[in-house]
């Protein structure tokens, strides 16, 4: 291997080294495994404040936060920060505060591991558990897709030119009939990048369980925050400094319009985005992370630091997306914006590799928790429910969880290959969050409204799924008429989540009032928390 070849391979070597480290972390964490499924699924409820913050933040921020936000800032400008990041800073922490801590307490006191177990008991309905399981899986799949597509696209653009012989792409034919080399030729193709990322995450989740995921998330959160700062500084420096980068955007017709929200984001749309972050109240993977907490005090650092961490990650990404408007002009695939900026402006192969590892860290820190929660739910909510808890020993339960995870990952991977060029990471993420946000009335009522009934919960769940499914199909899956743009679906200027959420909430209230109240024993079981400040 010549020195030049070795140098050009450096980014891939750094990324491969990082993936190898994660695999080692999975193996090391497996040494601490206590051999019980409770330890595998919720780390024996032993996670302290720092690990809880890092694992929850790492889980919440995915390819959506780095690849999606950069791409969306490129297409729609600075408004994307207000749409997602600042709303999330306020509302995520509010949900952790009013829902997360309460669910942690209920989960600890009654020994729950999954959402379905809690909802089944709270609403006195095994049927609700069976209904909720496929809905949660259905909604997690777009979230997984966001990660797999973002990873594949990012690796493709950052490794462009490194393997010209192995992964050539046909030349581009320009409007005047001339050709030019494809800018992504020689990059690791999305099918391979997605496959490698899924494989590594599966490896450390299978070996380390939830402990492996928590450790890896912590490591990955540190990596992606640090690499975000590195990428930001290098790109800014390459563009001639922060002021020069800003001046170029202001001078560009395409970029200048994106420095403000006028014409990019509607007022009602901006407001209706406030409902999207409520999704964290129903993310099954976050529920599982909440249950890993050692005590309620463990939540304090998470509640306080979460908005600040979001700002530290999102502001640089939004600025990089804005700078890309002046750098490339219109026409770039939003999913490829971050990769192109890193690939073309960060000329140190090692730093390119480090930044690449950081972006993959953000993506994988969500994938691992999502994989874990899917396996946990399948084992506990379907298999053990159907066959009884003594039918399988702990080892068999873990094997069943792994088998189901493999199945879902295979489905997701194939879907990612199909949708990689048509679905935008940001839009897909918003749809996923909208579905979970529509289930928020359910979790709120379960925790705070004694009169919420089984029929109300089931009706609300079905309403959310039907309305979400119809609108999702219309926006993402249906073939659009020629001339239709890539704009987000808005109804009366509002995000679809407004209507899905409202329909689910109204149905929950109306049907609950119209049906028999839950039994007194059930109410006592879930609502016997002492009044504020009184001894229990």
């Amino acid at each position: 291997m010549t020195g030049e070849t070795a140098a050009s391979l450096l980014p891939v070597i750094v990324i491969a080294g990082y993936l190898g480290l994660l695999a080692v972390l999975g193996l090391v964490s497996s040494r601490f495994f206590k051999g019980t499924s409770a330890d595998y699924f919720v780390v024996s409820r032993s996670v302290g404040p720092f690990l809880l913050l890092m694992s929850i933040f790492g889980t919440t921020m995915t390819g959506f936060a780095m690849v999606g936000s950069t791409g969306k800032a490129y297409t729609s400008g600075i408004g994307v920060y207000g749409l997602m990041a600042s709303w999330s800073g306020l509302i995520h922490s509010a949900v952790f505060f009013v829902i997360g801590i309460r669910l942690w307490a209920i989960g600890k006191r009654h020994g729950y591991v999954t959402q379905c177990q809690f909802f089944r008991d709270r609403f006195e309905s095994p049927a609700l558990g069976y209904l909720l399981f496929p809905v949660l899986v259905l909604l997690v799949i777009p979230y997984l897709l966001v990660g797999v597509i973002a990873a594949g696209k990012f690796l493709h653009s950052t490794t462009a030119g490194i393997f010209p012989g192995a992964f050539p792409m046909p030349d581009l034919v320009l409007a005047d009939g001339t050709t030019r080399p494809h800018p992504l030729s020689g990059g690791v193709p999305p099918w391979l990048g997605g496959l490698v990322v899924c494989g590594v995450v599966l490896f450390y989740v299978f070996f380390g369980g939830m402990r492996g995921a928590v450790w890896a998330n912590t490591f990955q959160t540190i990596i992606f925050l640090a690499s975000g700062v590195i990428a930001f500084s290098l790109i800014a420096s390459r563009l001639g400094g922060l002021s020069e980068a800003g001046r170029m955007v202001a001078a560009s017709e395409f970029g200048g319009a994106r420095l403000a929200r006028e014409g990019m984001v509607g007022h009602v749309q901006f407001l209706s985005y406030c409902l999207v972050p409520l999704s964290v109240g129903m993310f099954p993977h976050l529920f599982q992370h909440w249950l890993t907490a050692k005590s309620a005090k463990s939540f304090r650092l998470t509640v306080v630091a979460h908005p600040i961490f979001i700002m530290l990650l999102w502001v640089p990404c939004i600025l990089i997306g804005l700078w890309a408007t002046a750098q490339f002009g219109p026409g770039l695939n939003p999913n490829a914006v971050l990769g192109r900026m890193v690939g073309e402006l960060v000329h140190s192969p090692i730093l390119t590799g480090l930044v690449g590892a950081g972006v993959l860290a953000a993506i994988m820190s969500s994938l691992d928790s999502q994989f874990m929660c899917l396996g946990t739910m399948f084992t506990n909510d379907i298999v053990v429910r159907r066959f009884g808890k003594h039918r399988f020993n702990d080892r068999e339960k873990i094997l069943l969880a792994r088998g189901f995870i493999l199945f879902v990952v295979a489905v997701t991977y194939l879907l990612a290959l199909y949708l990689k060029d048509s679905a935008h990471v940001f839009d897909l993420g918003v749809w996923c969050f909208s579905g979970f946000a529509a289930l928020f009335p359910l979790v709120w009522a379960a925790v705070y409204w004694r009169r919420a009934t089984r029929a109300g919960a089931i009706a609300s769940l079905l309403t959310a799924v039907i309305v979400w499914g119809v609108l999702f199909y219309r926006d993402i899956l249906a073939v659009k008429p020629p001339g239709t743009g890539d704009e987000e679906l808005l109804i009366a200027g509002m995000m679809p989540v407004t209507f899905i959420f409202a329909a689910a909430a109204v149905v929950l209230v109306v049907v609950s009032w119209a049906t028999r109240a839950p039994r007194r024993e059930t109410i006592e079981q879930f609502f016997d928390l002492p009044a504020q400040g009184k001894a229990p």
Binding site: T36, V113, G246, M311, G533
Partner: protein, 106 residues
Amino acid sequence: MAGRELATGSRPTGAGIGSGRRWIWVGFVVLFVAHHDFWWWDDRTLVWGVLPIGLAYHAAFSVAAGLLWALASRYAWPTHIEEWADQPGRGGASAEAGAGGGEERS
């Protein structure tokens, strides 16, 4: 009351938490309303030549949200939940002792 608690370093309890909680929710509503900064909507000014003013405002908003939740963790933290969670439950029908998941309830 709050000032005295801060000075002595003790945690507020009982009525102090209830009052603190009310003020936190007032702060939440104020921030919720302040999020809609229509006054910067079409302003392309770059703060220090770097940050678009709308982005700078929302970055500051995120810091304000962090401060609000810092106050919440100090003056409105639900300490009573911790004690409640540590007591043995009645054992949900779906709850686990070690593994998670129970058998079908008839």
